[in-house]
């Protein structure tokens, strides 16, 4: 229980599902051969951490930020630019981390001090504006960021796919640099999620929940709400930048589409709401469902769209086109905000559908 900070999943089914997801992720290199499965698993790890950090903001403090991808992007770009400029060595990785994380925290501090003093709605609008300005900036400063093309780079020797650590004839599996990178991503994501679990179950996390439930009352109790909210914003930004670093390391690339675009922000929102706000565990569930759907449901939609157009139905082929899958997720999103505000985790913890689940207000 220590490792979960005294906040277990509190539902037998949920525990089972979580254990299954984590085991499946950990065993992906051996169970599911092929590059696609490994890519999906790594993406789930990265997004689980990213969404968990967003949950700290949305679920625990009740403030909606649209700038989360900005911090994610800062992490990605920091490591990409460092490795691109300094060559594939560990000093560059360290530089990327040392520059990226504090930069994200500082920017979060500035935004927080500036906009968290006022209502939640102001914070949402200001973060949206800042994030869009940052996105434009990143695509325009092409001498630094590579513009729309982004930056591709090489990893240090140890993490490259060509590096064979344990050859195939020892266990029947080849352990190479790629698999080592996967386990690096897996382990760091897991650590970040456990750290977030620690944060939300600390006295500090309780104050955040108090602010979410009633900011005025929390202030009357003597808590400096602006300080707490800004601190939470900085922590979330740090973890988001960490997730960005992992993402860039895995993809060996950082660009506007993979790390900064507004659609990633929407993806994060969808994942956190579908998984369950204010639970941290919801992040793992939400990221798994969403990314599996993104990678495998889209091909299913392609088949359905084909069938519909062959049957000569009007409109349906367009609506079922694989590129339109966000349409269906958007509908699912609205339905889940409306009918299941507590998400999958809330439902599993409280099958009776009691409205008292956490994080719905």
């Amino acid at each position: 229980m220590m490792i979960l900070s005294g906040d277990p999943p509190r539902s037998r089914v949920l525990t089972l599902v979580l254990v299954l997801i984590i085991l499946a992720l950990a065993a992906t290199p051996f169970l599911f051969p092929g590059a696609k499965a490994l890519n999906v698993a790594a993406k789930i790890c990265v997004f689980a951490a990213l969404v968990a950090s967003y949950d700290l903001l949305l679920g625990y403090t009740g403030s909606v930020s649209f700038a989360h991808t900005m911090f994610y992007g800062i992490g990605s770009y920091a490591i990409a630019i460092a490795l691109y400029g300094m060559g594939p060595n560990w000093a560059a990785v360290a530089t990327g981390i040392v520059v990226g994380l504090p930069l994200a925290a500082l920017l979060a501090l500035a935004i927080g001090l500036f906009s968290l003093r006022v209502a939640a709605i102001f914070f949402a609008m200001i973060t949206l504006a800042v994030a869009s300005a940052f996105q434009v900036l990143a695509s325009q400063l092409s001498w630094l960021t590579g513009g729309e093309d982004g930056r591709s780079f090489q990893l240090p020797e140890l993490l490259r796919p060509g590096t064979v650590l344990i050859s195939k004839n020892l266990f029947g599996f080849e352990i190479n640099g790629r698999i080592l990178t996967f386990y690096l991503v897996f382990a760091v994501s897991a650590l970040m999620i456990l750290a977030l679990l620690r944060v939300v179950n600390s006295p500090f996390g309780r104050v955040l929940q108090a602010i979410r439930e009633n900011r005025f009352r929390a202030e009357a109790l003597g808590f400096r709400t602006v300080f707490h909210l800004t601190y939470a914003n900085c922590l979330a930004a740090l973890v988001a930048a960490g997730a960005g670093i992992l993402n860039a390391l895995w993809l060996r690339y950082a660009g506007p589409d993979t790390s900064l675009s507004f659609s990633i922000m929407l993806d994060i929102l969808l994942m956190v709401v579908i998984g369950g706000m204010g639970t941290i565990y919801g992040a793992i569930i939400g990221a798994s469902i969403f990314i599996l759907a993104q990678n495998y449901l889209q091909s299913l939609m392609g088949v359905a769209s084909q069938a519909a157009s062959e049957a000569g139905l009007p409109l349906l082929p367009g609506l079922l086109h694989p590129d339109r899958w966000l349409l269906w997720l958007g509908l699912l999103f609205i339905a889940s905000v409306y009918f299941f505000p507590t998400g999958v985790v809330g439902r599993l913890r409280n099958p009776a559908g009691d409205k008292s689940g956490g994080g719905s207000h």
Binding site: L58, G62, V64, F114, R117, V118, A119, A120, I121, F122, A124, M125, I126, L128, A129, V130, S132, A133, V136, L137, Q140, F262, L266, L269, V273, L315, G318, L319, H321, D323, R324, L326, L327, L329, G330, L331, F333, I334, V337, Y338, P341, S360, H361
Partner: protein, 336 residues
């Protein structure tokens, strides 16, 4: 505070003119910086036209928030829908659009704009009933629901019209510029300015001179009190919401003609812009929204002329500066 006798007239509310002077001061300050008077005049006219279009789109958002404390993150969807619907009328009548006769052009443009307003207004009705009605008073859920609505609307537009950019050429008679001496002012910008000004005056007249406007302003001040007096504020709100959506649709048509193209991603781009405007103006204030729109457009135009690189973040800098001066926007309307 002095005591008032019952017969005394109410004290006049203090007029706050500092925000009105701000854009004027900004424009005057730019004369020496830009150097040539003719380019200054052209830029100022461009800013005013752009500001009017942004105002048309943003006015609905700010009123809806002021009246019912609802922030519609999907407001941009109405803009895009308006622009797409206009193509339904403009594409089949491309010939009369290209004819060099003002009346023939307007005979197609006006129905297109009206149809856009009708469709976005009707969509506003659906959105209010389906998405917003269940989550009144819950900011977090409102943001989530309307963001979801924005995704669905955008994707539906892609599904119906396809992901490509649709060209939307300006009518022949609105192309080109009026030349006054050395100053060139694009004809379409003059039209945009006139329409924007007319809508601003109409909104001000309705809000300040009619019973309906009295109720709306009272609702912004104190919703419960208006309800207690027996007015169905929900219906009033629905009307304001639909009007705001229709205006956003009109703004969408005008913006699409200004850019001469239509694409569903315009809703994202413009959402950010109108958010900056309503924050600068003070949530719920029409006057603030008007000044905010002009300020944003001025900074974009002057900034783009003087320091093109700065123009990318000029909106944010403007917003930061204004909020440093007045943390609740130029005109803080409500106590929220």
């Amino acid at each position: 505070m002095t005591d008032l006798a019952a017969t005394d007239p109410l004290p006049k509310p203090k007029r706050d003119i500092a925000p009105i002077l701000l854009p004027i001061a900004l424009a005057l300050l730019m004369i020496p910086l830009i150097g040539s008077t003719s380019s200054w005049l052209t830029l100022t006219a461009a800013s005013l036209a752009m500001g009017m279009m942004i105002f048309i789109m943003a006015s609905g958002l700010t009123l809806v928030f002021g009246l019912m404390d609802v922030l519609n993150f999907g407001h941009g969807a109405f803009i895009a829908v308006g622009a797409y619907v206009a193509t339904l009328v403009l594409a089949p009548f491309a010939a009369s659009i290209q004819a060099d006769s003002l009346w023939m052009n307007l005979a197609v443009l006006a129905p297109a704009a009206l149809l856009s307003m009708a469709v976005s207004g009707a969509l506003g009705l659906v959105v209010e009933r389906v998405l917003i009605l269940p989550v009144y008073g819950q900011h977090l859920k409102q943001i989530l629901m309307t963001t979801g609505g924005l995704i669905v609307a955008e994707q539906t537009l892609y599904a119906l019209w396809g992901p490509q950019i649709i060209p939307m050429p300006l009518p022949a008679s609105l192309r080109g510029s009026f030349i006054l001496g050395e100053v060139a002012i694009a004809k379409y910008r003059v039209l945009a300015m006139l329409i924007g000004l007319a809508i601003f005056i109409a909104i001000q007249l309705v809000l300040n001179r009619s019973k309906l406007g009295l109720l709306i302003r009272a609702g912004v001040e104190n919703r419960e009190m208006v309800e207690a007096l027996g007015y169905r504020i929900r219906r009033l709100f629905l009307g304001v919401f639909m009007t705001g959506s229709a205006l956003a649709g009109l703004g969408g048509v005008m913006w699409a003609l200004y850019r001469e193209q239509v694409h569903a991603s315009m809703s994202d781009e413009l959402t950010v812009l109108i958010f900056v405007v309503v924050i600068i103006g003070g949530l719920g204030s029409i006057g603030g929204c008007f000044i905010g729109a002009i300020l944003v457009a001025m900074v974009a135009n002057y900034g783009g002329f003087l320091v093109p690189k700065l123009a990318l973040v000029s909106n944010i800098l403007l917003m930061v500066a204004i909020l440093m001066w007045r943390p609740r926007g130029l005109y803080a309307v409500t106590s929220r």
